[in-house]
């Protein structure tokens, strides 16, 4: 055991990667510092706002409360992985269509939560959306548009 960095290997948005991480780094620090990916970003620092949301082995987690070292051997997905070959995902398209953001800072977290909700529940009600996204905050308060966006994304996914 040591307090120094160690090399971890994991899958990042489908690609195999290595990273040298210190034991106390969180996921956001690793994504921004090692990979230059700024889609997951810290805001409240307490797991309440969801701006730092990432998916680890398919489960949404709070990036700023997740030690980076725990990613070893796992699959990590971020907002940067949503679009494929330049084509926006249904969630991304729907958020634009319904105006589901204003300043955009919380948007990556909202999108990843939307994706996971729709993976589990392709046709969510308003209340389902509220429950699933209740750990994500939007100070611009685009909440009505976000609910509409998630439902619209559900439709787009089925088309």
């Amino acid at each position: 055991m040591s307090t120094g960095k160690r090399t971890i290997e994991f899958t990042l948005n489908g690609r195999s990667v290595f990273a040298d991480v210190a034991p106390h780094w969180n996921m956001v620090e690793m994504l921004q510092g090692v990979f230059g990916m700024t889609g997951a970003r810290e805001s409240c620092g307490q797991g309440l706002c969801g701006c730092c949301t990432v998916l680890v082995d398919g489960a949404a987690v709070t990036g700023c409360l997740q030690l980076a070292t725990l990613s070893d051997g796992k699959s990590v997905e971020t907002v940067e992985g949503l679009a494929t070959d330049g084509e926006l995902s249904p969630e991304q398209q729907a958020f634009i269509e319904t105006g589901g953001f204003q300043c955009g800072y919380c948007t990556p977290g909202m999108l990843l939560m939307a994706k996971k909700l729709l993976d589990e529940n392709p046709d969510p009600s308003d209340d389902d959306v509220r429950h699933y996204l209740s750990g994500n905050l939007c100070r611009c308060a685009a909440y009505p548009e976000i609910i509409a966006a998630v439902k619209r994304a559900g439709e787009l996914r089925q088309e």
Partner: protein
């Protein structure tokens, strides 16, 4: 946060050996949510974190036990309870408003029970259901009722090198249960008051009753006088009012940012009845 040593034992026994009863800077890391919060705010500076994420798989499983009971590994995330058909309905319902999906994906059953924060939802519900935990320590294993797990505010009977391994919930066939969580600062908040009830009996008749108060008290606490009133009686508005009053007389409520003790008394007075009504409305099990 400053660097610390990070240990990843592969067995629970090994994890226990890495912990130190006398050194509070060595802590186990389950999901890490609460611990990371304490570390980020400078409340806790670890020398060693003992990750439990690589210990035996059986501590991550949630499965039906014998005769309708539930057995859950302490390292299973709360989300596993939420999605398990084997979990009592009241547990699954409670999970839906426990923090948020991301926390439930990560936070472990064991961590949630061992943290000792009276605002948590799982301890009162498990107390109402008569659940128990099996722990592993240097001296071997022991079984503790969840009801007896807490000694005070953030205080449990667990030694710092003792880990919860398994949660056992007895069969809930015939048990109607509900958990009422009252928040006062925003809908999604730590509760000002939690009331869990578990009842047996038919229709409006209550045979056995457990009424547990949390969040407004220093630790999850059974309201024995209210339980006495309910047991063997038919539920009426008047009885519920009496039970609420009895709970108010019995509970030692604290003032905190969620509200004054005086206000919480009034919340408790009506919430006991609301929780019982809510339990009577659901299917047993």
């Amino acid at each position: 946060m400053m660097p610390f040593e990070f240990a990843e034992p592969t067995t629970l026994t090994e994890a226990v050996e890495l912990l130190d009863a006398d050194d509070p800077t060595v802590r186990p890391l389950g999901g890490g949510t609460a611990l990371m919060l304490m570390m980020k705010s400078g409340l806790f500076t670890p020398s060693v974190l003992v990750s439990l994420q690589k210990v035996e798989d059986n501590y991550r499983e949630v499965c039906a036990g014998t005769g309708g009971s539930l057995s859950a590994g302490a390292l299973a995330p709360l989300r596993a309870l939420e999605l398990s058909d084997a979990a009592p309905a009241v547990v699954r319902r409670t999970m839906k408003t426990l923090s948020n999906v991301r926390v439930r994906n990560v936070a472990t059953i064991g961590g949630c029970l061992a943290h000792g924060d009276p605002h948590m939802d799982l301890p009162p519900v498990m107390t109402a259901l008569g659940a128990s935990v099996t722990t592993v320590g240097p001296g071997g294993t022991r079984t503790i009722n969840v009801e007896d797990l807490y000694e005070g505010y953030y205080e449990t009977v667990l030694a710092s090198n003792e880990l919860i391994a398994i949660l056992e919930v007895p069969a809930t066939a015939g048990v109607r249960a509900a958990y009422k969580k009252v928040t006062t600062r925003a809908a999604d908040d730590w509760p000002a008051l939690g009331v869990a009830v578990a009842l047996t009996g038919e229709g409006l008749n209550v045979a056995e009753a457990r009424v547990v108060v949390s969040a407004a008290t220093e630790k999850p606490t059974r309201m024995k006088a209210a339980e006495e009133l309910l047991m063997g009686a038919d539920v009426t508005d008047d009885l519920l009012k009496q039970a609420g009053d009895a709970a108010v007389d019995e509970a030692d409520l604290i003032t905190d940012p969620q509200g004054s003790a005086a206000y919480k008394r009034e919340l408790l007075r009506v919430t006991v009845g609301r929780a019982v009504r809510s339990a009577l409305e659901v299917e047993a099990g």
